[in-house]
């Protein structure tokens, strides 16, 4: 950052004198301050979570990582995040599996296939999806989607029931992780789609025209010129979507059955996530209960950090396509 700024800096001062230099300094100070502020903010959030979580760790008589129960206010307190971690991971993963292909598909369609009128209105509609409050998604999922999901979940059980994931041994198909995943998929779709679309539109015209000139079909052009160029951007879009899925609270809290067990049968009523559990238990939690909820929040905080760091490192690996060579 600094190294790339300096030559510009020097050049500007040579050309226009010292007044610009002062402006540059102030601006640099401001941006640096903003950057440092964010770091301090993150650090203090982390410190707060650790500080408030200590009583929970001290009093817990279960194993914080493996216990599938949540009784922090009973005597002695027993609680663990195993079921929460499982529910959060599998619901987000399922949501990604559903949303990412559709999002990239719509982004490519809008960028390269649709005519101008269709692409503007479709793009607008997808952006609007992102503006719908999550409680609306939750209520819709609970009252509309859930009543129409019996067909597909029964089909999954009947024909793919040999896979434990899709087996339903209860004959009850409501309030499941599967339904929550579908709602989450719809919620993260606009984020991934809108960002991917912007990235695909950045692909230099020269790249595409070169591919076409070599006799590539439209699909081959997308595969060879567009997707490699857009890959890091699509990965960051996906990670933003994943972040939203991991942290989604109220929609999931309304839909899931909030059970503290690891149940691989994702079409049965079950499941709970970090964020949903905090929302559901906060009001009536006692002192240790609050601390335990904050401890679970700390874990979610760490998971989100790790996910983003991994995403960054993936993007860094693909830097050669980042547009500098466009």
């Amino acid at each position: 950052m600094n190294t790339s700024l300096k030559p510009l800096d020097a050049q500007a001062s040579r050309v226009q004198g010292s007044s610009v230099r002062v402006g540059d300094r102030i601006f640099r100070g401001m941006t640096r301050g903003a950057g440092i502020f964010v770091l301090i903010l993150m650090a203090s959030i982390g410190a707060f979570l650790v500080w408030k979580a200590i009583p929970a760790f001290q009093n817990n008589t279960g194993n914080f990582f493996t216990t599938q129960e949540w009784f922090p206010d009973s005597d002695p307190p027993v609680f663990g995040i195993a079921a929460l971690a499982f529910g959060t991971a599998i619901s987000s993963l399922m949501a990604m599996l559903i949303a990412v292909p559709i999002a990239i598909g719509t982004a490519l369609f809008i960028a390269f296939y649709a005519n101008r009128r269709v692409s503007t209105s479709l793009g607008f509609l997808i952006d609007v999806l992102a503006a719908v409050p999550s409680i609306i998604y939750g209520l819709w999922g609970l009252q509309v989607l859930m009543t129409h999901m019996d067909g597909i979940t029964k089909w999954l059980n009947d024909y793919l029931g040999f896979i434990p994931l899709f087996r339903n041994e209860l004959g009850i198909y409501t309030k499941s992780i599967f339904i929550a995943s579908v709602v989450l998929a719809i919620m993260i779709l606009p984020t991934i789609s809108a960002l991917s679309r912007e990235v695909f539109l950045q692909v230099p015209r020269a790249h595409r025209e070169a591919a076409l000139a070599l006799g590539a079909t439209r699909w081959e052009t997308i595969r060879m010129a567009v997707i490699p160029f857009g890959k890091p951007g699509v990965i960051s879009a996906t990670m933003l979507g994943l972040g939203r899925a991991l942290g989604e609270t109220i929609a999931v809290a309304l839909i899931l059955s909030a059970a503290f067990e690891i149940n691989w049968h994702i079409t049965e009523p079950s499941g709970n996530t970090f964020a949903a559990n905090i929302a559901l238990k906060w009001n009536e939690a006692g002192p240790i209960g609050l601390s335990a909820l904050i401890a679970s929040g700390l874990i979610l905080f760490i998971i989100t950090l790790v996910v983003n760091m991994v995403a960054r490192s993936i993007i860094a690996k693909h830097k050669e396509f980042s547009g500098a060579n466009g």
């Binding site: 206010d73 004959g171 059955s257 559901l280 009001n283 939690a285």
Partner: protein, 371 residues
Amino acid sequence: MKIARSAKVAALAATGALALAACSSGDSGGSESPAAAGSIGGIDCATGSIKASGSSAQKNAMTEWINAYQTACEGATIEYSPSGSSAGRADFINNQIAFAGSDAAMDSDELKQAAARCNAAPPINVPMVGGAIALTYNLEGVDNLVLTPDVTAKIFNSEITNWNDPAIAEINSGVTLPDAPIAQFHRSDGSGTTDNFTQWLQAAAGDDWPYEAGSDWTAKGGQGSKGSDGVAASVKSTPNSIGYVELSFVETQGLKAASVDNGGGPVAPTADTATAGLAKAKLTPNADAGPGDMTMEMDYTLADSTAYPVLLLTYEIMCQSGNDATTLPLTKSFLSYAASADAQGILTEIGYVPLPAELDTQVAETVAAIS
């Protein structure tokens, strides 16, 4: 509306002025000096502004009472935030509110902690809002289902999983029960309703309910829904389901409620049978509370064909003595109104259960004695 708002603004301005003038710290909300203007339910009005928080189960009752009080008494502002019982008790201990609403009475530890804010005098628990917990079900063609504590416990414990189970048929002779799996709903959020429901199961069902009672659902199986409205909506939209909600939700959502047979014959949940049930509760004052404490012990095992046993009793927690001089008049006047026949009478209309007359008289006396 406009009048109420300008009154609120005036009260806020007064609060601000007081705070500026006195620089008082740890105040529970300032107040003007009481100047009685008008009365409500036979109680003289007081002015000023107070804050309270706690039990969400009391929310509708409080909203109703506060509206009535503020309409009758100009210059009074009362705010009740339904943040949950535990949060309310914590706010009370930290001297942020004038009184707390709570689904459970404060225990000895909390009473000792709270004494500091009441000028070293321990506070008291006073029952104020009663409620009945109904077992609501969705079974086509079945209109008067009867359930015993044992069978209810086994249903919610996933031991009985089909409606045609002989145990259910035995207590419902003459009723055709479907051959369908039971979809049972409980609260997924922490709640005083769950606490009282599981206390009833624990007391009345014996070994059939092996779990501890508490505000978090502890049994395995079944489905959780958020809030009583969530449980009611789930039961309404799911055929062959059962759940537990406060009585008001049965009425407003047009649901069916089972009669409960605690051993003395089936009793349907109504305001009358629930009040009769509340009358069987025993007064068990906590020795660590202030004089006049009215901690109650419910009789969940009562076997009486006229008294409904699955009940909810919520308290107001207040300082017996050592109230802040600025908040005392309005706190006392408002809570006296809440205990009045007028205010208790409103409860029936909005799905709550009025306190039995004898208990209510005692509540009114206790509130009138705070200083």
